[in-house]
Symmetry: C2
Subunit: 367 residues, 2 copies
């Protein structure tokens, strides 16, 4: 149906190795061509199984069967080869539905392919600036004048998992013009929002932290309770972090807080495990035992149960221990258990980021 | 445009507090009605800010402005109220674009609303069964006869982040009939695939593990290197896990492996930090120090750099320490750093799950 009306039909999914996956057969039939084995694709599938040291099930061979005459869209992340084939005036591009595979193939093959098809036609470029620690509405108030409808560059905001993203779309007749316009607006947004912006174009908070640790040549350790390992997980998503991240402790039980981090038992008894004091003792404890330059401690109530009127679900204390002393922050978070863990971890990393940015002791420190 | 052709128009996004969010204005204009303040929605927004102990920016008030005559779709997860309004024969439902908010509102309001609108019309029910540790193609070979096109229940497979999901769709004239048909096919899939299936209907591996720990009354501790805290993060996503999860150690540096886990320095020197021996020593070490009944140890090379011909990126060792001794497994994983971390963490949790299921010592153990 689409082929009569459209220039391009993008199909995702149905390229798996099982019987319910019939996309390749349907497209071949629609185009009136048979399926043919593509040897390089089969070799790639065999290689993936060999690297995993698993024998290749016979079924997977179907994933190298491609409609005759189609161009192969190779799959760097998985077994299913994609393909592109002409159907009358239209072009059908078929990609697997597994998100990580589909995205890699879309960015690696489809976008360049389309850019080539459409040719130069004026230039649009986009920059995403990511901010944390300010409400979206407050961001919107500050850059309201840049968000006028029809303005070039066009500016909008989005929010996802606690991160506010400012999107800047610039159009120009040439790449240089678009880039100049984008640069001017980006500069103004950065000037207005300041260090609330932690990164650009998909960069996560942990990348900003890792970059600062590397610049300052500082090591870090983390003591987590309510976040359960999420801060360590985020930090270790950054390649090369092993040079700066020494260790983490997930001290879920009070015994672990005492044994591993040296939090005094009578402190826990007196003020409770969820307290600024314990967060600070956790941060100091892991800094001391690991020998790291900076350390984070996090304790809180992720919920959904365990809250009290005095200490409700979402109450989290974050502490940062460094050479010049201790800093603690009290957070009041709302949402599901997963959201509270995520926002607490991001708040901890953000506290570390701001401290690394602001503290001149680090800039002058020789390691 | 859609209103002339469609019965239902679902709009997501553009309900934020900033100037670029014009969905509510556009829909009100299209319907020829003004925007009106909805007091309960405003109270909800004020309450969310109050709970976070942050003053409400004036901008957020716009999020309680609703086209006159619309039904409110309240937002349990955020500030933006959604709404539903008639436009001629069509109904327009407007939800925020933030995925967690949109999904909660879709499931909590839109689906029941649509079910009411369409009325009973035969019944369709779906069960998702999640499997780990077998290739999708191998799953497809085993249940090939159930995947015949046109069969009721209809059976298909999907894969996402290493998890193979078997989807069973059953249709019947009554709920009882659909449920009986679904039950029979589900039983057959479960019988054929056995303990490769770890959960159903969105359940994660960590939920299965937590359920088994609770049933067996066993405590767990985790020593992680390459996964960087991800196993702890996954386990602590389960509410109530604090009773069973005692502690985690993220031993990224060799010093942490020695100091915190008692891995012998000469072992690391002799066989390397990425080895079955070190994984086993990590698991035994944290089991001993935490007093947990069972413990996991994980060490590997998450990449993208750090691999050698003998120890390539994706080589991971997982060890499980328990009363009856030690078990280790060598994994050869492929993909990005994030994928390798994720698959390693899932493999570790799956090893623990299978051990908890199979081991009769636990079933008879008195704690």
């Amino acid at each position: 149906v689409g082929a009569a009306r459209s220039d391009l039909i993008l199909v995702t999914g149905g390229l798996g190795p099982t019987r319910d996956d019939i996309t390749r057969q349907v497209i071949a039939e629609f185009c009136g061509v048979p399926l043919e084995l593509d040897e390089p694709s089969l070799a790639h599938i065999r290689d993936l199984f060999a690297r995993r040291r698993v024998p290749m099930p016979e079924n997977n061979k179907i994933q190298a069967m491609i409609p005759k005459g189609a161009a192969i869209v190779s799959n760097p992340r998985g077994t299913a080869a994609g393909f592109a084939i002409k159907a009358g005036k239209a072009e059908i591009i078929s990609l697997p539905g597994v998100p990580s595979e589909m995205k890699a193939m879309f960015e690696g093959w489809v976008l360049p392919h389309l850019a080539q098809r459409t040719g130069p036609r004026g230039v649009k470029i986009t920059r995403l600036l990511h901010a944390f620690g300010m409400a979206e509405s407050a961001v919107g108030e500050k850059i309201h004048h840049l968000m006028a409808p029809g303005r070039n560059p066009n500016v909008g905001t989005m929010v996802h998992e606690g991160i506010i993203t400012v999107r800047i779309n610039a159009s120009g007749d040439t790449p240089e013009e678009a880039s100049r316009l984008l640069g001017a607006t980006e500069g103004e947004v950065r000037r207005i929002l300041g260090d609330v912006i932690f990164g650009a174009d998909g960069e996560e908070m942990e990348h900003a932290v890792a970059r600062l640790l590397k610049e300052r040549k500082l090591t870090v350790a983390v003591a987590e309770s309510c976040t359960g390992g999420l801060v360590g997980h985020k930090l270790t998503n950054v390649p090369g972090i092993s040079e700066w991240f020494l260790e983490g402790v997930v001290a879920y039980s009070n015994r672990a807080k005492t044994d591993l981090l040296g939090v005094p038992q009578d402190m826990v008894a007196a003020v409770g495990a969820v307290s600024a004091e314990v967060a600070a003792a956790m941060a100091s404890g892991i800094r001391r035992r690991s020998g790291a330059d900076v350390a984070l401690g996090l304790t809180g109530i992720a919920g959904p149960t365990g809250g009290t009127p005095e200490k409700p679900v979402g109450l989290v204390f974050v502490a940062l221990a460094k050479n010049s002393g201790l800093e603690t922050r009290e957070l009041r978070l709302v949402g599901t258990r997963a959201m509270i863990k995520d926002r607490a971890a991001k708040s901890g990393l953000n506290m570390l980021r701001l401290s690394l940015m602001g503290d001149t002791q680090y800039a002058t420190r020789s390691t």
